[in-house]
């Protein structure tokens, strides 16, 4: 019973094919299959809205209030044990005579011995370079000529900037460029997002991992809290500035890699070597609010998982598209 219609179909298809046309059966079959898959997948993943759907958002919001990964990167690192500097102990309380004595001795050592010593070294060091302050100025200027200067209008043009950087990098006589890709001061417990601009220019990147030991003196300059002078003063009255520097093997951008991926790859290497937390967050969050797109992403995710019904029908029909 099936055979005659089947043979007719077969003959039709062959005839059409020899004429260069087709019924499009294969396409229709594939499209039908895809639609079936999509519809069922959507159904599997969606659920009806419940009053309890907000609970997860509330909890993650509260967790962020109690502790978050970003805001603590912009103030000095908290130490696990006191290093006898009152600046690292925000809630100074009298605990014991012994600790107080240690602190007083430390205070005398730092302010009456180390501080004068360091000021002395600074003045002698400055004086020794022939001519004193004037020659400092001259040397600074000569170093500045190796800088890459931009006109203000040029600085706004990203392509112009990238072109100038590339010219500099490709010239073998020019000095290598020193780059701090986070774009702002962070407290050295983490590495934050690297700006992708430098990673687009090409050339070889030589990553350098730097980690200060905060127990001897915190090198972090909280520019919104301390002026440069008080920062220098704090540096000079610390125990010491102890810093580990690792020069990592050179890296280049791979063919199939975007500059953002390359930047993240370099960042991961530096974080791993220095024992720092690798964060995706932008250091610019120190001064500005996060982009709206992040919130919109959450909203999209939530909407996607929500079962939505067609409003324009008497009986409730599931959304078929």
């Amino acid at each position: 019973m099936i055979i005659p219609p089947f043979i007719i179909l077969l003959v039709t298809v062959v005839v059409l094919a020899s004429l260069g046309k087709s019924l499009g059966l294969r396409q229709k079959y594939v499209q039908f299959l895809l639609k079936v898959f999509e519809d069922n997948n959507e159904r599997l993943g969606t659920h009806e809205f419940e009053l309890g759907d907000c609970l997860d958002y509330i909890r993650t919001g509260m967790e962020a209030i109690v502790d978050d990964e970003v805001t603590k990167r912009f103030s000095a690192e908290e130490l696990t044990s006191w290093n006898f500097l009152t600046r690292t102990n925000c809630q100074y309380e009298f605990i014991s005579i012994r600790l107080t004595i240690f602190w007083v001795v430390g205070f005398i050592l730092r302010y009456c011995l180390l501080l004068p010593l360091r000021i002395l070294i600074l003045t002698i060091g400055v004086g020794q370079r022939h001519g004193g302050f004037l020659s400092i100025f001259q040397r600074a200027l000569s170093r500045a000529s190796a800088h890459i200067w931009f006109e203000r209008s040029e600085a706004k043009d990203r392509f112009a900037v990238a072109r100038r950087l590339r010219e500099h990098v490709e010239d073998p006589d020019k000095l290598p460029i020193l780059i701090f890709p986070e774009g702002t001061c962070i407290n050295n417990t983490s590495v934050m997002q690297f700006k992708k601009g430098t990673f687009e220019v090409g050339g070889i990147i030589y990553p350098v991992a730097i980690k200060y030991d905060p127990r001897f003196g915190d090198a972090f300059w909280n520019s919104s809290k301390d002026s440069m002078v008080s920062y220098i003063y704090m540096m000079m009255t610390s125990w010491a500035i102890v810093c580990d520097v690792w020069y990592l093997p050179p890296m280049t951008k791979r063919e199939d890699e975007s500059s953002i991926d390359f930047a993240n790859r370099v960042k991961a290497n530096i974080a791993r070597q220095g024992g720092l937390v690798d964060l995706v967050w932008d250091g610019g969050l120190k001064r500005s609010a996060p982009k709206k797109e992040w919130k919109q992403q959450y909203q999209q995710e939530f909407s996607r998982r929500l079962k939505v019904q067609n409003v324009n029908s008497e009986k409730k029909e599931e959304k078929t598209e």
């Binding site: 509330i58 919001g61 919130k295 939530f302 909407s303 939505v308």
Partner: protein, 189 residues
Amino acid sequence: MGNKSSLMLQEQDIKDIQEETGFLPGQIERLYSRFTSLDKGDNGSLSREDFLRIPELAINPLGDRIVHAFFKESEDDHVNFRQFVRVLAHFRPIKHNQENNLNAREEKLRFAFKMYDLDDDERISREELLAVLHMMVGENISDEQLNSIAERTILEADTDGDQMISFEEFCAALERSDVEQKMSIKFLK
């Protein structure tokens, strides 16, 4: 320096807070340290901007509502440390026989209820539900569809027929969900 000393936590304060909230002294000190680090102006209290400066909170779709929950009790649009801890106490995990009046299941549910009930009339109206839905979906779902979701939700939960959800109806609707776990966070000592 002098200003900071007036902000320091006294022993008696810690005891009072422990009594009221059930937090341990170590937890209270940690929360105080967090409070002062959020307090950028150093005035012993937090404003809404201080909260929303936390990026993870600013991008939370319900971020504004959560912040609002802290300011319900305050008169001058600022939250002091007592009020701060009192709100957080609702999220203390429940341990057997250690329930106090702030983190009991009913209190957690009441906190969630207040997320919806903006005008504090002990009822969630359709508009209030729509407002929260809108915050959670953004522009991705049309108003008519949101309306139908809100109507259906109220229909299912509303047992006394007043077209609004009371606190009892709310609790009944959430009877089967694991409120204790969803509304608890780990506080480090």
